[in-house]
């Protein structure tokens, strides 16, 4: 469920009852949920955000020979306070595998820390670099088994010897999905049209970099909880390159 810029985790039974409602009953259901949401005293309450959250824009794009993952760098508390302008949301979980984080920063850090440990242990046991799918599966198990407590979503992307560049979305409740490109976070809602129109399979590195930078710049331009600099990480078989595009070097569009 999406309410404004936030997602609400609804228990299975409620989601089930919601499906069987129609018309007026459904409207009442939503209204009740919204009211409950407003007076909830938890860290995803609209006006009483207790923790640091990454209202954010993250994306990942597959290109010819690798993946690019990118994010903005703003961390916010509530709608009006920017708690950090330079946060890194691209966490390295193995040599050629990265995760972008969205949602509660604390939860995301806890999950990636655990995943990093499990992945390194797994990779040493297997005596070979881990598959991106394995990394994503580890994140998924953590998210799914702890879905009541956690509020974090991820994009796991990287390169492995078996299938080359891959991107996996691990959503809030623990869904795992493979995609050629994907966007996430609160700022992503503003750029669905752009990425759907502009994405091409098998782009070159330059095209893909331009695509990612443009998408992030557009999202950061419209979403108040995304901003700062653009962090990009290019992952290929040969190397991992971290590129930072500062705010004043971002591409400008007609509204600015």
């Amino acid at each position: 469920m999406r309410l404004a810029n936030t997602s609400v985790a609804v228990s299975d039974e409620r989601a089930h009852t919601a499906q069987s409602l129609s018309g007026d009953a459904y409207a009442t259901f939503i209204h009740d949920l919204y009211v409950e949401f407003l007076i909830m005293d938890s860290h995803h309450s609209y006006s009483q955000v207790k923790g640091v959250s990454t209202g954010t824009t993250i994306l990942a794009v597959k290109f010819n020979g690798g993946v690019i993952i990118g994010s903005d760098s703003r961390a916010s508390m509530g709608e009006s306070y920017v708690s950090s302008k330079t946060i890194n949301k691209l966490i390295q979980v193995h040599d050629r595998i990265f995760c972008c984080i969205a949602g509660s920063l604390a939860d995301a850090q806890a999950v990636t820390k655990m995943a990093k440990f499990q992945l390194s242990f797994h990779s040493i046991q297997m005596e070979s670099p881990p598959l991106v799918k394995a990394a994503a599966s580890i994140m998924r198990e953590l998210c799914y088994n702890n879905k009541e407590e956690l509020q974090a979503g991820f994009i796991t992307a990287g390169w492995d010897r078996k299938k080359g560049p891959q991107i996996y979305v691990v959503s809030l409740g623990g869904m795992l999905l493979s995609q050629p490109y994907t966007i996430g976070g609160s700022g992503s809602t503003y750029i669905y049209g752009y990425v759907d129109a502009k994405f091409k399979p098998d782009m070159s590195l330059e095209e893909a970099t331009q695509f990612s930078t443009n998408a992030l710049a557009l999202a950061m331009g419209r979403d108040n909880v995304s901003g700062g600099v653009v962090h990009l990480v290019v992952i290929t078989e040969a190397e991992v390159k971290h590129v930072v595009v500062p705010g004043n070097k971002l591409p400008k569009f007609h509204d600015e």
Binding site: Q125, M126, K133, A134, I138, R161, K162
Partner: protein
């Protein structure tokens, strides 16, 4: 140095003065009492063959299988105490299934063999339990890693092989396997050779009836471990028996006194 195992062979938690754990060695002997199982790895797959002795004509055909499916892409052929082997096949299945659940992809065979070998080894450490009395051969095929073959014995050691044999005629079978150029063969050619080897090492004098179990996993089965289809199995058995039948035919024509000819341990016995 104690050559007699007295005193030192009562539990797996005791070493002998010359550094042996007799219980584990006895477990290995238990495997050598069972009938033969072989596994051979070729260019594009793995083939298993098991000489399944039929102790009674009343048994239903195909019961007490000695080849198990561990995962879609992994097969296991066993020799030794069948009940122990069944329990280990369940352990292997759980390992493979947990791996898939945690990491999202098929378990690599080396890892599976290591994990099950660790489990088998754990039972050689304590006096409260006895070691597993079975060896088993694991085989799989993967598009990227190719065919793999591993054998685990009761001591908990696993080795990778191109061809291996376990059970009573393992030496004879090994000799036959070494004659093959398996790295250049395909699964279809290998099936016939595996059937032939089982027929050769089968001892007609000591053990009467037997059923041949054949299974394979490779490019020909698209990476799934399956029993060899009936028609291919019949063809393989015909090929295996051809030398044997020809010999019988020739000798019975030459000499009408001959009542029976049997092949045991590469020696031909003639009853006349």
């Amino acid at each position: 140095i104690s050559l007699l195992p007295i005193q030192y062979d009562l539990s797996a938690s005791t070493f002998s003065p010359d550094g042996r754990v007799f219980q584990v060695e006895y477990a290995i002997k238990a495997v050598e009492n069972s009938s033969t199982a072989i596994g051979i790895r070729c260019k594009d797959g793995v083939v298993f063959g098991v000489e399944k002795l039929v102790l009674s004509k009343l048994y239903e055909e195909g019961s007490n299988k000695r080849i198990f499916n561990i995962d879609r892409h992994v097969g296991m052929a066993v020799a030794g105490l069948l009940a122990d082997a069944r329990s280990l096949s369940e352990v292997s299945r759980e390992e493979a299934s947990n791996f898939r659940s945690n990491y999202g992809h098929d378990i690599p065979l080396k890892h599976l063999a290591d994990r099950v070998a660790m489990y088998v080894h754990a039972y050689t450490l304590y006096s409260a339990v006895r070691p597993f009395g079975c060896s088993f051969i694991l085989g799989s095929y993967d598009e990227d890693d190719g065919p793999q073959l591993y054998m685990v014995d009761p001591s908990g050691i696993s080795h990778g092989y191109w061809g291996c044999a376990i059970g009573k005629a393992k030496q004879a079978a090994k000799t036959e396997i070494e004659k093959l150029q398996m790295k250049e063969m395909t699964c279809r050619e290998l099936v016939k050779e595996v059937a032939k080897i089982i027929y050769i090492v089968h001892d007609e004098v000591k053990d009467k009836a037997f059923e041949l179990e054949l299974s394979w996993v490779g490019e020909v089965t698209k990476g799934r471990h399956e029993l060899v289809p009936k028609d291919i199995k019949e063809e393989a058995e015909k090929y295996a028996k051809v030398i044997y039948i020809a010999l019988k035919h020739i000798l019975s024509k030459l000499c009408p006194f001959i009542l029976n000819i049997s092949l045991s341990n590469n020696i031909v016995y003639i009853l006349w």
